[in-house]
Structure formats: structure tokens, C-alpha cells
Symmetry: C2
Subunit: 396 residues, 2 copies
């Protein structure tokens, strides 16, 4: 089952592989223009890559005068597995070496069932994708988890919503099971990498990606690279205080952002609005389904329910307040909003924007787009594939 | 007056120069160990650097067996000018190529007098340092200003406390006057670089440096490099909101950190405490001097004045609250507190610490030192020299 995927021998080869991953098939001549290598040196490195089987020749390139050069592309049989473990579901996808999604499965699952149950499910899903003929084996797998990760070892650390995962050797265990290299990261970082590779942050080097789901987190990209912080907890903005004497939070403090706005807080607020009679639309949905979630708040807001709209606006104001501070601090080129709660759409975005544009200095917001993510649940799995491809496409 | 300082011809030479700057004189053999260059290639590059005059041979190195090698050091005649323009005073220093301060002058001056008056003063101070025999000329100058800077051009942009400086070509103008290369940056970034080069952040790659003076700003160092943000305003944390319906701020918003705690806000609060009779110690100092500043608050606190202590504690709580958010977001390895208000010392630090350790997640604060800067007003001028040396010691 273990595939012996070759690794690039040096930094030049690594750069060539990433260039082909991000830009698709290319001619030798154009690759030479893009990376600063002499023609002869480039030829040597490309020939060596051809020998490893990581790249293949792919027909003649368009003529630029003189002898026509061969197009080069990444081996069409390379396969990455992208896994995004959320609080309440698991996404598993297969991509090719250009990180195009060939197949994508989603399964509801509570992360609190613990690593053994979740891994079993992931392996099943991967097997199903393989059985569908999408992959013979995997050249690497990227895994996202909803909590902080000690990145070099691929181990979750004190993840608040993942009891049973603290210190579990996710990287090592899954690498054994899958028979390929594995890298593990926080799910929010992977969303940022996904939007950077194939979504709204394409070509942007410095941006923030705020994920509002069961919890709230922020992916930070600096100079094209994810900033993970000294212990891997960078971006953990859910426990920034938004209210001096605010609601009690699961972390033990009061007034944390997550305690006031996140999937969980919103569900609470929606239940209250339904039961108190303030929201006829939510009351009707509660009666029909026996429970409520962010989806119901979105639906109620869509039919003009005032209480639902107010919940979204208030939440947007609070997230916006925190983002305003981050924008002043970090001065990003772009802010991406993603995660389950983005079903709340324009109302949410509008109140986030008005807070940021009002509270941050004009110099930091003058050219600052604040936009919804483009890839939805695909961002995480593409980010996961990107993570492991960065590893596989670097010198061993 | 213009000195024709040579520049390194390639990245290897640049790295050798910075190694000698940061580590002092060194043998060829040891430099070879530290940068990944073959013995023969290293010999070639060192010989070329000797030809430029940027480095000189400096006696025999300690024996490591075999032929003894010559020590190499940066040319002893190289001189950098470090200038730190504050809101209320100007610091000018001369350093050698290892960024050791050879002479340092400080002059009270209001930055609002505008660039022409301030430049005149700087040139006078530089001339005085030259007349004292500390430099024949300058190989480069670094300039810090108390506001955001469009870094590539060296131009202040919309600096709130620097009317008359907006868009002024500081880099170009001073480069003309001084006859050497000039780089301009925000004063807080320079403080961070100074503490990194010679102070408490030595060898730390990811840290925050919070400067509390007339205003409040934060230098952000990521992977050893200053993060300036997409428009150069990163670190502008003085206008993060700390109070929902707080004090009116000069920026037009309410409840900004600076409106509640900074040199200016503290002076206001001290006056009020003196006049209202809450602080006998401050009242006595006001009567004696006719005015009050942070220094007086520190002195009153030192003799146990309850109102002064409370002002410091309250201010520390507010700064601490903002820093707690930044720590959760950025997960730094170290937080440095500097600037004029650090005269408030341990009381201030204690309340900052208690806020951060209470509000940020344990994972981010588990190994997080929060310390006072070590270099005081020298940090800025060393940072300025470091900035220009990075430029001079890079390929033209």
C-alpha cells in the first residue's frame, strides 16, 4: 500500500514543482523566465525531475521562434488526500498534483467521539474514493483539525472542543494507516491556504481569513506563508474579550467573542428568541424541527424576521469590533470571512464592514476588501492538499 | 562630503557582512561553518570584500590545528547615523559598523515644528558628533519618525501627531543633505529592531514590541523581520477600542486605547487627580512645577500615592487588555514594553501581565515573557543604524 513517491533533490527542483502545481503545465522556456536559473542549469534540473517520475513531458509548447520546446507537467497519477475534520462533520477529498478536487465526500460526525472513531471514518471515506477509481494510492495527506496543533510534530495541543485529542499523535498514526507522508494543521490555517491557492485570496501575500463556525478562528498569512506562532496557537481570536462583564465562556473567562457570537452562541440566542416570542419565524422553525441552528437564523432573516436580523447584526458588530483591532495591528491587504456562519451572508458582512471601516484608521482600510470566502467547504480540503504538497515538493 | 561606500556584489557577500555586524570579528574558518559555502567559494568572496574595503584583515585567529587563519572584521572606519525623531525630542547617534554607539545626543524639540526645522536640528547634531571626531562622514543614515511611513519611498503618510509631514520626502531630502543612503521607518519598528539587535529580544525571531509614549504603537517581528503591513501602518494599536462608550479620541472615534492611556492621557488624568484633591503628591508636584507628566506620576507612585498608583494600574489594565488580544492573535515568543511611560516600571508591568495571563489562552501564555525594554532611548537609534546597515549590506 505504501507508495514510494520521489522527493526533489534540491531547492531549484522544489521551486519547479511548485511552479507547475500553481501554474499548471508549462514550457521549459517559460519556466526559465519565471525562476532565475540559467538555461543549461534548468535543463539539468528538469531532466532529473523527469527521471524521478514527478514530472512528465506533455507535447510541444507554442513556438516562441527557434526550436519548439516540450511542455512539462506534474505526473498525472500523483494523488493527494485532503481531510478537514470539523466540530460536527468530516470532509475528505482526493486531488491531483495541481490540487484540483477529483472527488469530495462529507460525513456528519462529532469530533468528540475521539481520534480512533474519526480515523476509522476517514479511512473508510478514503477507501471509498479509491474504490471509485479516483486514486490508486496517495502520495501524501493533509489533515485539518479544529484546534491548535504543535505543527512540527502534527499533534493537537489542549484543543478546547476536542476532548480526547490532546497530545494524540495524529500525524504519525495516520501516516502509518495511509502509508504516505502526513501533515497536520489547524483547520482555519487550511481554509486560508485553500482560499489562497484557488479562491478569493489567490495571489494575495498578506491577508487574514476569519472562520466563524462552531468556534471562531483566524488564519494569518504573512508574505505568502501561514503564521502559526511560537506554540501553534496564532489566530486563536475566539477568546478575545468583546464585553467587559460579558457572558461566561467555556474557557473560564467572561465576555469572549465566542461566547457572544459563533455557531454555538447563535443557536442559544435563536432558541431564546423563539421561546420568548420575539421571533415568530424562529418559533415556527423550532416547532417544526425541534431544534435550531445558524441555518434557521439565516432562513428567518431571509423572510425579514426582525429578531433574526438583529441577531446577525449584533454578531457582525462584535466580530467586526475584533477584526477592526486586528486590521489596525496587522494592516492586511484583504480580510476573508468564511465558515458555517457565512450562510448569514450579506447582513453579516455589512455589519462587519461598518465596524472595521469605522474603527480602524483610514490608512489601514483605504484599500481593504472584506469579502466572503469563495470555496465554502472545499477551501479546507484544498488547503490540506496544499499543505502536504508543500511538504512533498520540498527537498527530503 | 559624499562618501562612496562600496556595496556587496551578491547575496553571499551580504550574508558575510551581516554576520560580521551581528557577531563581530571572526575567522574565515568559523564563518565558513556558519554560512553554507564551500571553503574555496568563501575564500573568493572574502577576498572580494577585502578589495572593496568593507572588511579588513585583523590579526591571526585562534588555532584550530593546521594553518592559522586570519580574523576578518568590518572596516573600523564605517559609520552609521541613527536618528530617532520623537514627538517631543530628537535622538541622534553615531555607530560603527557593528552598531556600537560611539556618541549619542538628545535634544528636546516638538515634531510639530515641521520637517525643515527638525532637519536643521538633526544636521546640527550630526555635525557636532562629527566635530567631536566620532565620524569623518556617514556611510548611511536610518531615520525613525513617530507615525506611519510608506516604507519603500521613505515618506510619512497621514501621521496624526506630525502635521506638516504628510507626504514629505524625508528619505530623499535627508539623503541629499547628508550625502549618504537614507532609510526611513516608523519609530516603533526601530525600537523593535534595536531591542532585537542589542537588547532584550536578541536572538528572538517572533515578538511584539509595544511602545507607550506620547502615543502607543507596536512593532511586529515575524521570522526575524519587521512586519510593516500592506500600507506601512501595521502595529497602529493606539486606536483599538478599549471602552464601548469611552473617551473621545483625537482620531474622531471614542474609547481608543490612546485616549485612555498614553503619555498625553496620563498627563490629563494626573492634572485631574491633583486638582480634585485625590492626590496630595501630584498636587504638590503641580504646585512646584506648574505642570505634570508621566515622570510625576511615577514619582508620586514611588512615594505610595494611592491615586497615582491607581492611574498606573488602570492604564496597565487597558494596555494589557489590548495586548492580551494581540497575544491570542499572534502567539509571539516575547512581548517587550518600552517608551517613555515605562518609567512607571513594575506597577505598570504587573498589571499588564495580569491582564494578559488572565485573558489569553494558556497555550499562548505558557512560555511568554512580558518584559521591559533594555535599551531605553538607545533602542531607537540602534534600530535606525540597523535599518540602514541592512540596506548598505545588501546587493546594490
Amino acid at each position: 500500500m505504501r507508495r514510494m513517491t520521489a522527493r526533489p533533490a534540491n531547492a531549484h527542483q522544489a521551486r519547479l514543482l511548485r511552479l507547475l502545481r500553481d501554474g499548471g503545465p508549462n514550457s521549459r522556456a517559460q519556466m526559465g523566465d519565471q525562476i532565475d536559473l540559467s538555461r543549461s542549469k534548468l535543463a539539468v534540473e528538469v531532466d532529473r525531475l523527469l527521471e524521478t517520475g514527478l514530472v512528465v513531458a506533455d507535447g510541444l509548447a507554442a513556438s516562441r521562434g527557434g526550436r519548439r520546446s516540450h511542455n512539462i507537467r506534474l505526473a498525472p497519477g500523483l494523488r493527494f488526500l485532503g481531510v478537514d475534520i470539523g466540530a460536527t462533520s468530516v470532509d475528505v477529498a482526493v486531488t491531483n498534483a495541481e490540487l484540483e478536487v477529483l472527488g469530495h465526500l462529507n460525513h456528519p460526525m462529532d469530533v468528540r467521539e475521539g481520534p480512533v472513531a474519526v480515523f476509522e471514518r476517514i479511512l473508510e471515506m478514503a477507501a471509498k474514493l479509491r474504490a471509485a477509481g479516483l486514486a490508486e494510492g496517495f502520495d501524501g495527506a493533509g489533515i485539518g483539525v479544529p484546534g491548535p496543533v504543535r505543527f512540527p510534530e502534527g499533534v493537537p495541543v489542549a484543543p478546547p472542543i476536542m476532548p480526547g485529542w490532546d497530545g494524540f499523535p495524529v500525524r504519525e498514526a495516520l501516516s502509518q494507516e495511509l502509508g504516505c507522508p502526513v501533515m497536520v494543521d489547524n483547520d482555519v490555517n487550511l481554509m486560508a491556504m485553500g482560499e489562497q491557492h484557488a479562491g478569493v485570496a489567490r495571489s494575495v501575500g498578506d491577508f487574514l481569513c476569519v472562520k466563524i463556525g462552531t468556534g471562531i478562528g483566524c488564519g494569518i498569512v504573512v508574505g505568502g506563508e501561514v503564521h502559526r506562532g511560537v506554540t501553534g496557537s496564532a489566530g486563536d481570536i475566539g477568546h478575545i474579550r468583546v464585553e467587559a462583564d460579558g457572558r461566561a465562556c467555556a474557557c473560564g473567562n467572561k465576555g469572549c467573542l465566542e461566547a457572544h457570537f459563533s455557531g454555538a452562541a447563535l443557536t442559544q440566542d435563536a432558541l431564546e428568541a423563539a421561546r420568548s416570542g420575539r421571533s415568530p419565524a424562529l418559533a415556527a422553525r423550532l416547532e417544526a424541527a425541534g431544534q435550531l441552528s445558524a441555518v434557521d437564523v439565516a432562513a428567518a432573516a431571509a423572510v425579514g424576521d426582525a429578531a433574526a436580523l438583529e441577531l446577525i447584526r449584533e454578531g457582525g458588530n462584535r466580530v467586526g469590533q475584533v477584526i477592526a483591532g486586528l486590521v489596525s495591528f496587522f494592516n492586511p491587504a484583504l480580510v476573508v470571512i468564511g465558515g458555517g456562519v457565512t450562510g448569514l451572508g450579506h447582513t453579516l458582512l455589512a455589519s462587519i464592514r461598518s465596524q472595521v471601516y469605522r474603527q480602524s484608521l483610514p490608512l489601514a482600510t483605504g484599500n481593504l476588501p472584506i469579502v466572503l470566502g469563495e470555496l465554502g467547504p472545499t477551501a479546507g480540503v484544498i488547503g490540506a492538499a496544499r499543505l502536504i504538497s508543500d511538504h512533498v515538493f520540498s527537498p527530503a
